[in-house]
Subunit: 142 residues, 2 copies
DNA sequence: GTGGTTGCAAATACTTTGCACCGAC
DNA sequence: GTCGGTGCAAAGTATTTGCAACCAC
């Protein structure tokens, strides 16, 4: 993998919150930067294994947990039993998942603006719609 | 446990699809009937243990899987690592889950009507919004 | 040097599966 | 009687945790 330069935001936030910036975390961030936005711990592990064979999966889980707690990443369940992670600096998006063929289509967040407003108005609830998974049938499988 | 009479729909669908109606499945259906609509396998197990100590949790998982495959129940992930089940004959509903205090508020499905229409119009996607979990902050924790 | 971090192994938690026996039909 | 269902034990899968060595600061 070529040395992609991850955005500095994550790195700065990590340092300024008293955490260390380690080579392991750098590599994990690079994978998240270069990914499609729904990356599981295991996927990161296999992407990284060739150039960093010792990087243990528990280190990845701990890094992802830290990113989540620092508000740098979102955790989503796409329905296949593994949690997926997505860096906020890559922008928000959502998923339409076909229950029949398994296809995952990304869509941007604007479509949820009216729903968000309605939830606030009717339920006084501030929805955190940053990485939502919606199940159903795609055009071909409808 | 007294012989509560579960709705006949589930029972009929089970029988007519070639499955057997067993005492175990009857008890499991009764628990789902009498529940709040977000019941995990383990919850069913402990509800049932006193009057049916031999009913094994794997039987519950298999029954829930059957109900799901027959379209009688919906599976939802409320974010706590266990899957929850809800009988369709009890009507559809959705959940607002506070990320801070953990409170789960139910809401009915009408609020999603506009979103559903927009997804169909803009993405040709037929959303199956029967048991959705939305995360965010409730009024008190906002 | 100190305190956060890592690698490893073991433990957790939830769910699934193989199989012999059982029971609904 | 047949074929699906059950109980049990074991396996599977994703994730977490305890701990000693390690290294970023």
């Amino acid at each position: 993998m070529r040395p992609v330069q991850p955005g500095k935001l994550a790195e700065n936030t990590i340092r300024s919150s008293g955490h260390h910036m380690t080579p392991q975390r750098l590599v994990i961030l690079e994978v998240l930067e270069g990914s499609n936005g729904h990356t599981s711990a295991e996927e990161i592990h296999s992407h990284v294994r060739s150039r960093y064979p010792k990087l243990h999966i528990s280190t990845i889980y701990r890094a992802l947990d830290m990113l989540k707690r620092l508000g740098l990443a979102t955790e989503t369940d796409l329905g296949d039993g593994k949690l997926r992670y997505h860096l906020h600096e890559k922008g928000y998006h959502h998923h339409l998942i076909c229950e029949k063929c398994g296809r995952v289509e990304d869509m941007d967040e604007s479509i949820f603006t009216p729903l968000k407003a309605a939830l606030r108005r009717k339920h006084h609830f501030h929805a955190d719609l940053r990485h939502l998974a919606i199940f159903g049938r795609c055009q071909g499988c409808a």
